[in-house]
Point group: C2
Chain length 444, copies 2
């Protein structure tokens, strides 16, 4: 098993409860294969015993960030659905644009988005999209970690549950375990009860979880009550979805009753604040979720609503908007925001004992951050700088599963120019817009 | 007069009314001395006639950003007042910390902050701080543009009006006109009516404007009504401040009556949204300000509340929070946000016919932006990328007053390492905290 050592680094220990952080300087991190073996003071290990030595040069080492809800290949349409309401965004823009999608587009879009993620220190992504065998090949190729769900709508009929379940079975544990899979019905508003029940049963049978959009806005909660007599979360409960580990995307429209309901199930909440702001709707009641001990993780959502896949931005916007929502500057303090970015995201992603921390036995998904930029000077407060000052290019080196993927901003596993060229060659076809040819209709 | 040409660039023309943008490719920009002489298609000028030729390599050329309200030297305390209410921020943290300030600290703090600004494409700043002769020397040294106000509190007594007026007289037009000056009483809540009246009279007499904090929160408006029977803006009106061109910082607590009042005077509003969010209070009613045709400009405020001096972040947060406040994704569209970042900021800064646009006769304050990064790909929508995707390091080259200040990320006029070292050597003394020794007390 190959061994790596990262020497002379700083490590920020983040309390999982979000109460405090502690900075340790002068540390070496020893990696054996794809896992962290030990952490010890610099100078105590003989570096000649390692296959790879990375001199961290006093950079800060952090766990790679985890994106808990995305549609990575949607980078293909970046910038094509701006300044729109939710209704117009779905019906006039996104769902007609997706009518142009061909399977191989997913491979190149996934690669482009994974490059953007790696360049900003995101090492894992819970992705929810179409043609996911192509996405899996992209993840395998570039060396990333992913939890892949093959999105499906109720209108596609029950055979689609079987088809996506086949993907889930086939790719579970692929790419040396870097790929995990999950069932991915789109949302209660696009799947009827029978369809959701079938998806839950398939997940139970295979032994995986579910990743689904739910209560994206209060309007959806109101529409669900009107149409079905139940909130979207009650629909998930009654169709058995919540009996398996479930990633709930957004949940901005959760009622107090919904929060008590969620407490009883193995759920995690993916939070994509930039999308909510861009679409002009209020954020989620995160402080109530935290009070109920519900796990929260950072998410980018798709680039067509979020513009980028940069989780530093999600982290910052999350803390800022929760302060404003609470009306007090003390709300969502720095340690709590960082706990969500690390431990919380690992819980939502479903690997809380292997990701989101730097500790022996954890997977070696690590990023080296340069805090010497002017925008961090003078550096009195490292945790504050991580939440409020970070720029994506401060991430210099990225390691996933014990493999160096980006070294001092150079990607080692992919030909970036080829990916750019492939995506650019598809722009004209993919941007054709005929609102009559949408893949679904939004009516909430 | 030295002549410069920037060849093969893209220019985004932004409608001052915020209705549209237009992208022109393949342009050359000719600069004579410190002003733009002409803009013409690439290939039509003989580059051998120019002292300096910058091949823009198809980069986007924009006017330098203008920071309409800052306390740049406060970078000295970056990260030392986090997760605090307004009251605690002033009384327990910032005002005690400022008790440690010595005049020469302002020189080095100003330089550090100007470096951060230049590295993110900010070429002008309306700064409001203490010991401003030191700030002026820093501006002159690095080659930036600034509108400097020497901050004063009513508690310092009327002689302080004379002292700061002397600064205003002395430095008006300094550094070949790059420095302009302005009277800078701190705020209605720290200056009584007589003091404000004296400041207004001094500004009238010298022929300059006033830069002041006002109605930072609704609580301040309520407190002012209780104590003085007038809103903070009515106080400014009745003491004569609004009779001169006035930069109003924040104005989040403006009432509908205040908006009608402002319409009658030569005011501009500086908007520093990240500060408002960090302190947990609601943003300003910008859409009502726009409806009243009040000029709005971007601002960073001080780094101790805002964390950075990055106006791309202000731009993005402004648009996102106005969408959320309005409850519709269509609010504050991209062209409108960009008009505020350029024309609007130039109006607030007081040079609407010389800054904020790329046109013949305008000052040559220009930045070259690289839109080839992964986070802009594929580039369907340049204006959207500027508002929602930009990272400060995408700014590659900065020209101020016809002089190249940063070329492909290398600073040409300053020794950055020396500035860092000077600031770091002051950290211990400057961070000493004794809440009993505050320079003022906040009570609103």
């Amino acid at each position: 098993m190959s061994r790596m050592i990262i020497t002379n680094t700083r490590i920020l220990d983040i309390d999982p409860a979000g109460q405090r952080t502690d900075l340790r300087t002068g540390q070496d991190v020893l990696i054996s294969g794809n896992r962290i073996e030990a952490i010890q003071p610099t100078g105590t290990a003989d570096t000649s015993h390692f296959d790879t030595v990375i001199d961290a040069n006093d950079r800060l080492l952090m766990p790679g960030l985890i994106n808990c809800h995305a549609h990575v290949p949607m980078v293909l349409w970046r910038g094509l659905a701006e300044d729109a309401s939710v209704e117009r965004w779905f019906n006039d823009l996104m769902w007609p644009l997706e009518n142009n999608l061909q399977p191989e587009d997913v491979y190149w879009g996934m690669l482009l988005g994974l490059i953007e993620q790696i360049e900003s220190g995101v090492t894992s992504v819970a992705d929810h999209y179409f043609h996911m065998t192509y996405a899996a090949h992209a993840v395998e190729k570039i060396g990333a970690r992913a939890l892949l769900g093959y999105a499906m709508f109720g209108s596609q009929g029950l055979p689609m549950v079987e088809e996506t379940a086949a993907f889930v079975r086939q790719y579970q544990g692929a790419a040396n375990g870097r790929i995990r899979t999950i069932m991915a019905p789109h949302a209660p508003y696009t799947c009827d009860d029978d369809f959701l029940r079938a998806a839950a049963q398939a997940a139970q049978k295979i032994g995986v979880g579910v990743h689904i959009h739910v209560s994206e806005t209060s309007q959806q909660t109101i529409a669900s009550l009107r149409k079905r007599g139940k909130t979207p979360l009650q629909v998930l409960e009654q169709t058995g979805i919540l009996d398996v580990p479930t990633i709930l995307a957004h949940v901005c429209g959760a009622t107090p009753t919904d929060i008590r309901l969620m407490e009883k199930y193995p759920v995690g909440i993916a939070h994509a604040i930039k999308t909510y702001l861009k679409l002009g709707h209020p954020t989620a009641p995160l402080l109530q979720f935290i009070a109920a001990n519900l796990p929260i993780g950072l998410a980018s959502d798709g680039v067509v609503s979020n513009s980028t896949l940069n989780l530093w931005e999600t982290l910052r916007l999350m803390a800022l908007t929760q302060k404003e929502k609470a009306g007090i500057g003390e709300a969502m303090p720095i340690a709590q925001a960082l706990a969500i970015a690390t431990h919380g995201s690992a819980r939502v992603y479903g690997q809380p004992d292997e990701l989101g921390a730097i500790a022996p036995g954890y997977l070696a998904d690590l990023i080296l951050i340069d805090l010497n930029g002017t925008h961090h000077q003078p550096l009195y407060n490292t945790p504050a700088s991580l939440v409020y000052n970070m720029q994506a290019p401060d991430v210099r080196t990225v390691i996933i599963d014990g493999q160096v993927i980006m070294q001092d901003r150079q990607l080692l596993t992919i030909d970036k120019a080829e990916v750019f060229a492939q995506v650019q060659s598809r722009m004209k076809r993919l941007s054709f817009l005929d609102p009559e040819k949408r893949i679904q209709t939004y009516d909430n």
